[in-house]
């Protein structure tokens, strides 16, 4: 413990706002844990983002201006591509919000049986690269699809509808999670009060359930819209001739090396996200759920007609989600889809596209992202607690901005910033570390928010108690913060790991001929015509992610069982 060398703390009137006495070591520790994460954000998030904005305004003649925007918008096919993207994401959002509300209501407010079927189904899209849904749909309904062949129908799955269905499957779990959380907050006494006033079940639904869920529905809609308008994987696999902004940006940058045009489309992709951010903020200010401290959750009840119809949709959607993934797994073991269905392991003998090397790269990248990310986020939230109100809020805002930047835009920003010859940033290009950092900052906000929730559970008095007993900052960290935070750290670690294993949209720009990752391999194999090998590769990725998930659950169970003092 530091010895306060000035004994006059009672006598001499202090200058207002003078900092508390603190040991030099504690000060260095605090400054490091504050500034390292912030410098990281500046270098690997803000700098690339500023660069992409700047590049979008650099014209071919080297001058600054809006010529790139004019060029892009006057390209003949671009208005059509923008329209396509809006239609596709609009439809997907509508389906996800309606279906998501039904499933969330079914899970939260009825005596649904076999809920685990729905839970498992909703977990699947989070475990696999985003193009697996499209892959599965093609195995079922494509030109050589199992169902197309069996029935002789020509389902035209390539294009708008295939894209809408696969993106709906991809975004649905997130919609259900958000809406379910908003349904969970309601207080049963509101329903009791309405019932005592004579309201029928339908009137209670319209007057209480829907208004209370408004904010959740809005959030879910924005998440679905932004996630699908920027998604690359499904669009590349099943989009066919239906061109959307995500595939267009890829074509401009990777196909034609037209970085400025790519930057312009990237900025365009930011617009819906910015709008969503703004509207959600306004809505959040107006929103109060009416739930108080002692809110009693609404107990599920029985209404046969409602329960049966909700059940049909919920189980239907769940079974469809499961069927598509199972199809992918099945196809990975089949000799010649769909003509010779005898089982084989040959698809797992992958030699094209670098064989299994990208899978190992993915493992390394994901581990790096998880270790670096967990450490930096932990440092950030611990030091943020000591900041003044204004500064803390500024850090908070900076830390959640990355959620608004689509992976595709971040990836493009990285290639603009780090694919430069000779300069210092160029040293990172082509390393697993850069891909790991890109993944970490892509999912920075979600990790940060989890950490913030975790550290709120640490009572500030506990830390102060440690200090008063005579412990230093490290003691406080070890005895007050870590024991409470450990489950959060585990959750964040595995969250970053699993997301890094499956993400495609950001890393697609960062791979080099020497260095590729698993999710990209799936895409490349599929595009090269090795669909069953692509399936086999995605099964491997899913297996790794499932093992990680199992490890997380096991660790958390272990931590919960351990008696804490």
């Amino acid at each position: 413990m530091t010895v306060n060398s000035s004994p006059d703390f009672a006598a001499a009137p202090r200058k207002a706002g003078k900092a508390l006495a603190i040991s030099p070591i504690a000060r260095i520790l605090y400054l490091t844990s504050l500034w390292v994460p912030l410098i990281g954000l500046a270098l690997f998030f803000l700098y690339p983002l500023v660069l992409i904005v700047q590049r979008s305004f650099v014209q071919r003649d080297g001058m600054i201006g809006i010529a790139n925007y004019v060029d892009v918008l006057s390209m003949r096919h671009i208005p059509g591509v923008i329209w396509n993207s809006l239609v596709m994401s609009g439809l997907t959002t509508l389906i996800c919000v309606v279906l998501g509300f039904m499933i969330a209501y079914f899970l939260q407010r009825t005596h649904a049986r076999l809920r685990w079927v729905i839970s498992v189904a909703l977990l699947l899209p989070l475990l696999a690269p985003s193009l697996v849904q499209a892959l599965g749909l093609i195995f079922l309904f494509g030109r050589n699809g199992l169902i197309s062949q069996a029935t002789g129908w020509n389902l035209q799955i390539y294009g708008l509808w295939g894209l809408v269905i696969s993106n709906s499957m991809y975004a649905l779990p997130q919609a259900v999670m958000i809406i379910q959380a908003s349904l969970r907050q309601s207080d049963t006494r509101q329903y009791d009060a309405a019932m005592m006033l004579g309201a029928t079940p339908w009137q209670r639904f319209v007057d209480i359930t829907l208004p209370n869920a408004r904010f959740g529905l809005l959030s879910a809609a924005f998440v679905c819209f932004t996630v699908t308008i920027t998604d690359f994987g499904n669009a590349a696999v099943i989009g066919g001739n239906y061109r959307v902004l995500a595939t267009e940006i890829y074509a401009q940058v990777v196909g034609q090396m037209n970085f400025n045009m790519g930057a312009v489309i990237g900025i365009l992709l930011l617009i819906p996200t910015l709008m969503a951010f703004y509207i959600e903020k306004v809505a959040a200010q107006r929103h109060t759920s009416g739930a108080t401290e002692g809110a009693m959750p609404v107990a599920p009840d029985r209404q046969p007609l409602r329960d049966i119809s909700l059940g049909l949709f919920s189980y239907g959607a769940a079974l469809f989600l499961i069927a598509v993934v199972v199809t992918v797994v099945y196809a990975s073991f089949v000799t010649l889809w769909p003509y010779r269905l005898d089982l084989t392991l040959r698809n797992y003998n992958i030699t094209a596209q670098g064989g299994y090397a990208p899978l190992w790269t993915s493992l390394i990248v994901s581990t790096q992202a998880a270790v670096i990310g967990t450490l930096l986020l932990f440092m950030l939230v611990v030091s943020q607690r000591r900041l003044g109100r204004g500064m803390a809020k500024a850090v908070y805002l900076l830390a959640i901005v990355p959620v608004g930047v689509p992976g595709l835009v971040l990836g493009l920003a990285y290639i603009l910033s780090f694919n430069v010859a000779g300069a210092l940033p160029g040293l990172l290009y082509g390393t697993t570390l850069l891909i790991a950092l890109c993944n970490f900052y892509h999912y920075h906000s979600q990790g940060f928010l989890t950490m913030v929730t975790g550290i709120r559970a640490v009572p500030p008095q506990l830390e102060e108690t440690v200090t008063c007993i005579g412990g230093n900052s490290l003691h406080g960290l070890r005895d007050a913060i870590l024991p409470v935070m450990l489950p959060t750290l585990v959750a964040v670690f595995f969250f970053l790991f699993m997301r890094s294993m499956v993400t495609l949209s950001a890393v697609i720009f960062l791979i080099t001929p020497q260095l590729s990752v698993g999710a990209v391999s799936v895409l490349r194999l599929d595009q090269a015509g090795f669909a069953t090998q692509a399936a086999a590769f995605s099964v491997c990725i899913m297996a790794v992610v499932m093992i990680a998930l199992g490890m997380m659950k096991a660790t958390l169970t272990f931590l919960e069982r351990k008696p804490r003092n």
Binding site: D187, D192, M196, L197, G198, A199, Q203, G290
Partner: protein, 332 residues
């Protein structure tokens, strides 16, 4: 219009939440269900409201069996501790909700809402939303909302517990005033004995799923029948018959049997400083109007109130005395 409950029982699985409850609530009567948490008072209120089923017994209103009428159709008003207002509706819309459900004509509805807002002093807040109101104001809206449909019975579930002491005092009187003016039979659940004493015509004192005693506030306070009531409402000293004979021999009454205890209020015990010590002062606490003394009598301790003028201190030797008619014999 009379609520009549006979032999009502309620089980949660094996646990008996209410046993053998008999209760009558008359026209324009204000009844308080009083008891510690977990005594079953809220369960009883929710059963009367129709929000919980019960296992056996009868529940009737004006001779009509209520067990087949759902909460939605009972036409009672209810107010919760948590206000439970509709957050997306204005004050006026909240109050008019029950009338809207009943498809009351617009003009009639507006007039009624106006009248109720005046009754609870909220005319200026008609277009506000609940989150723009204080706790006390929100609770007034909830009360007006419950009254709008002319309820046959008004049910209040700890309506004041979430409020500050000051607001709570004001609203106590206001609720009582409104209830007297509208003459609506009312049942209120509370764990606050002072609140029950101030507001109720009739207190139903409950413990562990049973009714211990029903009576007016005065009866409950001055003639408790059980040790629980004497202890829960106000503060009592308890003496066995043998101790009573020794400590307060001047008492007129006799113990009915050996199972009874003498309940003595601290204000009934007079304390004098004497040479020959019957007891010794071991603690004093200043309560404002009186000083409460803890007396050590060797085999027992007593609480007694004394005036500051007597100036008793810790360690003083004292003798106690009571008026001949003091105390009540209660079942242990």
């Amino acid at each position: 219009m009379q609520l009549k409950i006979r032999n009502l029982e309620k089980y949660y699985g094996q646990f008996q939440a209410l046993s053998d409850v008999d209760l009558d609530v008359g026209d324009d009567e204000f009844v308080c269900l009083l008891g510690p948490s977990g005594c079953g008072k809220t369960t009883l209120l929710r059963i009367i409201a129709g929000l919980e089923p019960f296992n056996s017994g009868t529940l009737e209103l004006a001779g009509k069996d209520l067990s087949t009428v759902s909460a939605q159709h009972r036409g009672f008003g209810i107010v919760f501790q948590s206000y439970s207002l509709f957050q997306h509706m204005t004050v006026a819309e909240n109050i008019g909700y029950g009338l809207r459900i009943r498809k009351t004509a617009a003009a009639e509805k507006a007039a009624k809402v106006q009248k109720l807002m005046a009754l609870v002093h909220l005319q200026a807040f008609a277009e506000r939303y609940p989150y723009q109101l204080s706790g006390g104001q929100q609770q007034r809206v909830a009360i007006a909302r419950a009254l709008a449909v002319d309820p046959a019975l008004l049910l209040l579930d700890e309506p004041l517990s979430a409020l500050d002491a000051r607001v709570r005092n004001d609203l106590r009187l206001e609720i009582r005033d409104v209830q007297r003016r509208l003459r609506i039979p009312t049942i209120m659940v509370t764990h606050d004995q002072e609140e029950a004493l101030v507001m109720a015509d009739k207190i139903v004192c409950m413990n562990a799923g049973r009714i211990e005693q029903i009576g007016s506030p005065k009866e409950i306070y001055s003639h408790p029948r059980t040790k629980f009531v004497a202890d829960f409402v106000g503060i009592s000293n308890f003496l066995t018959p043998a101790m009573a004979a020794r400590v307060v021999p001047q008492l007129n009454s006799q113990a009915p049997d050996a199972q009874h205890l003498l309940a003595l209020r601290p204000e009934d015990i007079a304390v004098r400083m004497t040479e020959t010590a019957q007891a010794r002062v071991t603690e004093t606490s200043f309560l404002g109007n009186v000083t409460r003394l803890t007396l050590d009598l060797g085999d027992t301790t007593l609480l007694a109130d004394s005036h500051h003028s007597e100036g008793l201190k810790i360690g003083d030797a004292v003798t106690v005395s009571v008026p001949p008619d003091a105390g009540v014999w209660v079942r242990a």
